[in-house]
């Protein structure tokens, strides 16, 4: 029973972290129609920049400065890269971001080398907040939850309550009209791209110390972010939140409990075959839920795309 509570907290942390990435990605998508393959690369850059800054100025300055640098870089990528490719259509845009992701990984290796960086939790937060049945919940995880919830609230406030937010929402649906009203739509696009990537940067800073800062960190997370926004519904912020939490909990619980395929088969009345070695399905019988935990989101995505192509909370079919 206590384990369930612990898993709920762990899943929440994973889900919220995922949300910080998917929020920016879905915002960028709904605005420009571009699935940014390099989004997780900006997350990685956030972690690396923060590590570099934290050596000189400490973790907190890293948390403050690194996302800004990432956001500026992101805006630059939009201004000098994407905008240029935009004229050729969506597929080249997607492929551009794909190439960018490869290049950023190479660049990171070029600058920082291939090893994992010793980027650690700040001392202030390096204690156990509380324990549930022998399982400690580190204070840092609580801190992660607060940061992500804070960012979500801030984002929601800006998008729904401020003038800038109104313009952005309008530019999402009617770019021409907004442009003719005298707003600089390309500037808005650049801004949204910058903010979206900066959000990914924040996620990178706070995830770097716990999930590791290494050149493969973008690849590990990259495609799962897509999966999240596809499941949630492309362009839907709430959808991204729901899908992030869903994936967070789904994978956490799948890993925490050893549910074997043979149990399921037995439960529905198929008995385990006598001689496993000769059975061509032997591997299927021994599959356990932790083994497939990380591919569950993909299964979910394919199912969703088949039966509800617009996603959980999405309105449009792209």
């Amino acid at each position: 029973m206590e384990l369930i509570l612990v898993n709920i907290i762990d899943g929440l942390v994973t889900g919220l972290l995922l949300f910080m990435l998917s929020a920016g990605l879905t915002l960028i998508f709904s605005m420009m129609g571009v699935l940014n393959f390099a989004h997780a690369s900006f997350y990685m850059l956030g972690a690396y920049f923060a590590y570099q800054i934290s050596i000189a100025l400490g973790f907190w300055m890293g948390l403050l400065i690194a996302p800004i640098i990432v956001g500026v870089l992101g805006a630059g990528v939009e201004r000098y890269g994407l905008r240029r490719v935009h004229q050729y259509g969506h597929v080249p845009e997607l492929i551009f971001t794909f190439g960018l992701a490869l290049l950023i990984e190479e660049l990171v290796q070029f600058i920082w080398g291939k090893n994992q960086m010793p980027f650690n939790i700040p001392e202030v937060l390096n204690y156990t907040a509380f324990s549930v049945a022998g399982n400690s919940i580190p204070a840092y995880k609580i801190f992660m939850i607060f940061i992500s919830v804070g960012i979500f609230m801030g984002l929601l406030y800006v998008l729904t309550k401020t003038r800038v937010g109104m313009i952005i929402q309008a530019a999402l649906s009617y770019p021409r009209t907004v442009e003719s009203l005298g707003h600089n739509v390309p500037l808005i696009f650049m801004g949204v791209f910058g903010v979206g990537t900066a959000l990914a940067g924040v996620a990178g800073v706070i995830a770097g110390p716990v999930l590791g800062t290494f050149p493969g960190m973008a690849f590990v997370l990259g495609s799962i972010v897509f999966v999240t926004i596809v499941i949630g519904g492309l362009g839907s912020l709430w959808g991204a939140l729901v899908a992030s939490l869903l994936i967070g909990w789904l994978t956490t619980f799948a890993k925490s409990y050893n549910l074997a395929m043979s149990d399921i088969f037995n439960a529905i009345g198929i008995s385990t075959p006598e001689n496993m070695d000769d059975n061509i399905f032997r591997d299927l019988w021994t599959v356990t839920s932790p083994q497939i935990a990380d591919i569950l989101p993909y299964i979910l995505m394919v199912m969703i795309l088949i039966f509800r192509p617009a996603g959980l909370l999405g309105k449009r079919e792209s």
Binding site: E106, D283, I295, V302, E317
Partner: protein, 431 residues
């Protein structure tokens, strides 16, 4: 109506067709000749291995372009079909009685059948729409199958894959395919056959409609064609040829592993195809050749090969969305107009300094890398056949100067090139 059928224009069209018949056959004859002669130029078996790799990539890239270029479907998991074809062939290789009943050159057909079979299953739900939905399903299915490759050991052999021995097949005219050269000709035969079949496919009704559906699926529907089924047939055909590539891989390396179907391989084939150019049939062929050379040959020269490959790719997407083939084909009108001469001098003046400048830039990158990562005391490095000390100022100054001067000259002369380019093109349109 009937009298209209004998009007002059259609007659001239017929004549054109007859003329284009030999025109279209020419490249194939040339290609066959080149394939035959290559082993006499590059005799070592490693060169043969690299060329085999190239031809396999050519087939795979062409198959991929049936989707991306001709059908407008962006797939992030196409390696799966090649991989499954390869695994199927490997299992057949290991089923010794059955394998011994037919000669080795037939084996890739089975790879094709299994590739197409998997494509039939996946395509039944993924081809309902193109665009993002298709791309995401391909990504999801790709990840699923790649992940299950380490779980389902019985078929995929886990992380070390499965291996076999190609020489147990029925001897083919006394040939047991012991040597690399035998395999080279087998691969060459298949690359020619597959490329020809894929070319012909693009000339069939369903191939033509694939283009139509790519450009305007709705209009195609109002012409009696279901966009979904057109996509489905393209998808299955693409899976078939990808499977053939996988089968050839199995024959060449006698081992297939998880890397044959993981997402990295799927990404690479996208890169290869786009680099070569999706708009032209021969684009992926160029892409496959260039990329294989970069991967196997450049990687022996520098650890940073992936960095250069990535930069090249990004530059292609940004500046030449038509890929290398598009770059080549840009010149066709110029040649047709007989104005190619106009371009020689500006090209010389701009591209040569630009190339030198870029090489200078590469030198700077390499020197930085060496300076940062080389071992202590090992200050010497060799670049462009020159050995020097990377910890002294002079080489840096030289590299910087070369880069700056090269790029500056290129920038100065670029407007003249632009002008010459428009001259060479536009003048023709007037005449």
């Amino acid at each position: 109506m009937s009298n209209q059928l004998t009007t002059d224009p259609s007659k001239s069209a017929q004549r054109m067709r007859a003329g284009s018949m030999t025109m279209t056959l020419m490249p194939w004859i040339l290609a066959a000749g080149a394939l035959m002669l290559m082993p006499f130029i590059f005799t070592s078996s490693s060169a043969l291995t690299i060329m085999n790799q190239m031809w396999i990539t050519v087939i795979f890239a062409l198959a991929y372009n049936m989707l991306l270029g001709q059908g407008g479907m962006l797939s992030f998991g196409h390696a799966v079909y090649a991989g499954v074809g390869g695994f199927a062939c490997m299992h057949i290789m290991n089923a010794s009685d059955f394998f011994a009943s037919f000669p080795l050159p037939v084996l890739p057909v089975f790879g094709g059948i299994f590739g197409a079979g998997l494509a039939m299953i996946v395509g039944s739900f993924s081809t309902r729409s193109a665009g993002t939905v298709f791309a995401m399903i391909s990504l999801g299915v790709g990840e699923l199958i790649a992940a299950s490759s380490v779980i389902i050991v019985a078929f995929f052999g886990g992380e070390e894959g499965i291996s076999g021995d190609r020489t147990y097949a029925m001897p083919f005219f006394g040939n047991e395919f012991l040597q690399q050269i035998n395999v080279y000709y087998l691969t060459s035969f298949w690359v020619l056959l597959s490329a020809a079949l894929m070319y012909l496919w693009s000339r069939t009704p369903v191939g033509r409609m694939a283009n139509a559906v790519r450009d305007n699926p709705e209009r195609a529907e109002f012409l009696g064609y279901s966009a979904r089924w057109v996509r489905y047939y393209s998808f299955v055909a693409s899976g078939f040829f990808a499977g053939i590539a996988g089968g050839l891989f199995a024959i060449n390396y006698e081992i297939v592993t998880e890397e044959n179907l993981n997402t990295a391989s799927s990404g690479v084939i996208l890169l290869v195809t786009f680099l070569g150019g999706v708009g032209f049939f021969f684009g992926p062929i160029i892409g496959a050749i260039v990329f294989t050379l970069v991967q196997t040959v450049l990687s022996l020269q520098t650890e940073l090969w992936a960095f250069y490959a990535g930069s090249l790719f990004l530059a292609t997407v940004m500046f030449f969305p038509g890929g290398l083939a598009g770059l080549l084909m840009m010149h066709v009108p110029v040649f047709k107009l007989g104005k190619a001469k106009l371009l020689i001098e500006p090209y010389f003046k701009t591209l040569l300094p630009a190339a030198i400048g870029i090489l200078g830039l590469c030198a700077l990158v390499e020197m930085t890398f060496h300076f940062r990562h080389a071992t202590k005391g090992d200050n010497e490095m060799t670049l462009f056949w020159t050995t020097f000390d990377s910890h002294t100022v002079l080489p840096w100054l030289i590299a910087l100067a070369v880069t700056a001067v090269g790029l500056a000259i290129a920038k100065r002369t670029a407007p003249a090139l632009k002008e010459a380019w428009s001259d060479a093109n536009s003048a023709g349109e007037v005449s």
